[in-house]
């Protein structure tokens, strides 16, 4: 390196000059006072600091100074190299000399968001040289510094850094044990930070509008789902930032009820409910349904409602209550958590029960419902829609549409 050559040359000169000066002294000559360049008060300062001065800033200060008596005779020198994690050299200087009596000083600011987290390092050589007798001082050499910069992180509910899943219920609020919100905590991981006044941020990266944030300026925030994921994938991501230095993305799945499937069915003759059903006859077809989510997992009890919108007569209906009969007992809301009129519990941990019932509580229906007998005489059909996450009939997330049909001796869906 040219600088080393230069320094070597000065060292050689220094040796010779000092030696000759010493020989004069040895021979009893008066030491020429004008060749003196230092005394005990002459101080040489090597300044070198590698400091995190912001969430996204690493500051490197380096310099060389001389003070005290004879300071005006000293040239100051520094060479240095600063490296990012992975040994990428960010700044280097092969050597700079100041004029006599002047300091040499450099300062750099770099962003971990550009160079990444990890260990930053710097090394510098400092020298002060007095030309009056060719003598060099090397204050603090070599100066080696390192600084560990940790990336911000996010802690999801229950701990860990994700991935994480919570619910989207079609814009309906938290229902039963299906939260549409999640509290995330950002960890700035600033370590020792000189003068830091970090600005925190939260933002969506993948599908940025899929969640909203209760706060985008504090270390904790509540995410609220605004839409569902496209499937059994973590297709939504968010990050926590500190002065623009971003955490790793937290991958999120916004799960949602997507379907309803018939698990099993059962047929009951002469159902209870009338004063004398065995006289008038009728049936109760029982359908056990389960709902499933984006991951095709059966859902634990979730408030679900049923609506029947369009009724179609499939035969001539005369007297009786076939038409628009709610008395037949279609359960319309299923929930384990809501009580009150028209609310029915789920049949078990994952299924709810729906009925198609027709029974004569009084004579005179045309055609009359009868006990199951293998007949194929349709009377009436209706659309049957199931909506999850809300009690109001017809509202919530649509999970399936059926056509249910009443026959004289049984019901189907």
């Amino acid at each position: 390196m040219s600088r080393i050559d230069s320094k070597s040359a000065k060292k050689s000169f220094s040796f010779c000059a000092v030696s000759l000066w010493s020989v004069f002294a040895l021979l009893g000559s008066n030491t020429p006072a004008y060749a003196q360049c230092s005394d005990g008060s002459t101080l040489h300062l090597a300044i070198a600091s590698l400091t995190r001065t912001g969430g996204n800033t690493v500051t490197y200060d380096i310099g060389t100074e001389t003070t005290g008596d004879y300071a005006a005779d000293w040239q100051n020198y520094v060479d240095f190299s600063e490296s990012a994690p992975g040994s990428t050299v960010m700044h280097s200087n092969s050597g700079t000399w100041s004029s006599a009596g002047q300091e040499v000083y450099y300062s750099y600011n770099d962003q971990p968001s550009v160079y990444g987290p990890g260990n930053y390092s710097a090394s510098s050589d400092h020298e002060a040289y007095a030309s009056c007798y060719g003598y060099s001082i090397y204050p603090g050499n070599p100066v080696g510094l390192s600084l560990a910069v940790t990336q911000p992180t996010v802690t999801v509910p229950g701990g860990g850094s994700g991935p994480y899943a919570f619910w989207y219920l079609g814009g309906y609020p938290n229902t039963d044990n299906y939260p549409i919100t999640a509290n995330f905590t950002g960890n700035p991981n600033l370590g020792t930070c000189s003068g830091c006044n970090p600005v925190y941020g939260w933002q969506g990266v993948d599908r940025p509008g899929a969640v909203s944030f209760s706060s985008t300026t504090s270390t904790s925030t509540t995410l609220t789902s605004q839409t569902a994921s496209y499937g059994a994938v973590y297709d939504v991501s968010v990050v926590f930032t500190v002065d623009g230095f971003s955490s790793p993305e937290v991958m999120i799945n916004l799960n949602t009820p997507v379907g309803l499937t018939l698990a099993s069915s059962n047929q009951v003759s002469n159902p209870a409910g009338c004063s004398n059903p065995s006289v008038y006859g009728g049936y109760d077809n029982q359908f056990y349904y389960y709902e499933y989510d984006l991951w095709n997992y059966a859902l634990a009890p979730l408030t679900t409602n049923e609506s029947n919108d369009v009724y179609t007569d499939l035969t001539t209906i005369g007297a009786g209550s076939w038409h628009y009969s709610s008395a037949w007992g279609d359960d319309s809301v299923w929930s384990n958590y809501v009580t009150g009129s028209n609310v029915y519990p789920w049949a078990n941990s994952y299924e709810f029960l729906d009925h198609i019932i027709a029974y004569n509580c009084s004579a005179g229906w045309t055609p009359p419902p009868v006990q199951p007998a293998g007949l194929n005489s349709p009377v009436q059909s209706a659309t049957q829609q199931f909506h999850a996450a809300d009690q109001t009939t017809g509202q919530g997330i649509s999970v399936n549409d059926y056509i249910q049909t009443w026959y004289t001796d049984h019901g189907t869906n």
Partner: protein, 178 residues
């Protein structure tokens, strides 16, 4: 304060084997002896060690140079530096002005000191040690005055914070070769 002091005598640069100006082995031995002897002679008229206040003043000088360096930085860097010092951003111009005034006066002083040496050299005249010490003392006075004048420009809290920086964080980054 975490200032590392180094004794100059322990680290005279260069290695004997690597140097050459045509001296024989015996001459080299003589030179070593002469070095020791001359050091003993010269020490009679020299101060042995900088006083603690001079060390403090030296740090102040380096600190004022650092401030001056940051005066030329961009707005964001300045704001960060203000936070680092613990002062309000609005107080930075005053701090920079003090550093600038110091630098200007210091530059004149050092130029005068150099001119004095050059003049003495050209006349082949010895340096007047009192005068040499005078330059150093004046420089320290300039630094002390500059730091003291910050007290008038800053709020009490800011000045206190700045003093804290100067006496704790800043010295940690400085190695002093004494």
């Amino acid at each position: 304060m975490f200032i590392s002091f180094h004794r100059r005598a322990a680290s005279v640069p260069g290695s004997w084997a690597g140097m050459s100006c045509g001296a024989s082995r015996s001459l080299r031995i003589a030179i070593v002896a002469s070095l020791l002897f001359s050091a003993a002679l010269s020490s009679q008229n020299q101060r042995e060690i900088a006083s603690p206040s001079e060390v403090t003043d030296s740090l102040s000088i380096a600190f004022l140079h650092q401030i001056q360096r940051y005066a030329a930085a961009d707005t964001q860097t300045k704001a960060r530096y203000a936070r680092r010092l613990g002062v309000a951003e609005s107080e930075l111009p005053g701090i920079f002005a003090v550093a600038r005034q110091f630098a200007s006066a210091e530059q004149s002083l050092m130029a005068e000191a150099r001119a004095y040496r050059e003049r003495q050299n050209s006349l082949n005249q010895p340096l007047n040690l009192d005068r040499v010490k005078g330059f150093a003392a004046s420089r320290y006075t300039l630094a002390r005055t500059a730091v003291a004048s910050l007290q008038n420009r800053l709020s009490a809290a800011s000045y206190s914070a700045l003093q804290r920086f100067l006496t704790t964080e800043f010295p940690r980054s400085v190695s002093i070769w004494k």
